[in-house]
Amino acid sequence: MSLLKKKGIRYAEMPSGSMADIAFLILIFFMVATTIDMDKGIGIVLPAEGGEIEMSSKNITNILIDPRGGVFMDDKEVDIKEIKGLIETIQIQNPKMVFSVKSHPRTKYKIYIEVLDQLKQAKTRVISIAE
């Protein structure tokens, strides 16, 4: 009897039938998990050139922004965070109110956007950009 009998070669196999399923799962996971970044921002419509409309001054609230970032609503200085609340009350009193945003040439764009953001948050219908 020979102890050194060669054993028959054994094949060990991994089941590979479901491998494609796994690949597809990963593929679908990445497809779902990938977010294509969308552009977000504040949308406005500029007035057409030469299309200035005369308006009664009682239907206009002027919002002025000075170079250091101070905001004046009808000549009263207000905090940027307060604008939303103030505007909401004005809109209840006068739904036709138009808000005119006017900024000093040295005003930072950041402040301007913050003010516009407040106006948008208050669901303002008409925003006018004064030059």
């Binding site: 921002g41 419509v45 040439p105 040295r106 030059e131």
Partner: protein
């Protein structure tokens, strides 16, 4: 003489390697794909809360404004005064044009006002100020 029927050949494409190929494709695309970040100028956009999404990029043209006062459209630098011609041309080819202003938060409003003026002259009135979400 009798014609002997030839034995039928069994032809099969081996499909065992199919998952490997799919994996290779997945990895290739995972590694090679760079999610396109924005070209343009180096800017920090302002933050805002009440923001809306731009529906599609098809009709959108970006104007990049850096804090140094550079203005870039379609990866080329322009003078502010030439915006009207560029935008007018774009507006005639695509009436649904939306102009997205991607400006640094430290830009002064005089430059933005000039851009407004140019856009009004070009009749490109739909504007979107790109912002970051808070």
């Amino acid at each position: 003489m009798e014609f002997k029927k030839k034995s039928k050949l069994k032809i099969a494409i081996p499909t065992a390697a199919m998952p490997d190929i799919i994996f290779m494709l997945i990895f290739f695309f995972m590694v090679s794909s760079v999610l396109r970040t924005h070209e343009g100028l180096n800017i920090i956009m302002p933050k805002a809360k009440q923001i809306e999404k731009l529906e599609s990029r098809v009709h959108v043209t970006y104007i990049w404004v850096s804090k140094e006062g550079l203005v870039s459209i379609d990866d080329k630098l322009y003078q502010v005064q030439s915006i009207r011609n560029i935008m007018y041309e774009k507006r005639t080819t695509d009436p649904q044009l939306i102009v997205s202003i991607r400006s640094d938060e430290l830009v002064h409003m005089d430059l933005i006002s000039k851009i407004h003026k140019e856009l009004r002259l070009a009749d490109a009135l739909a504007v979107n100020y790109s912002t970051r979400a808070i």
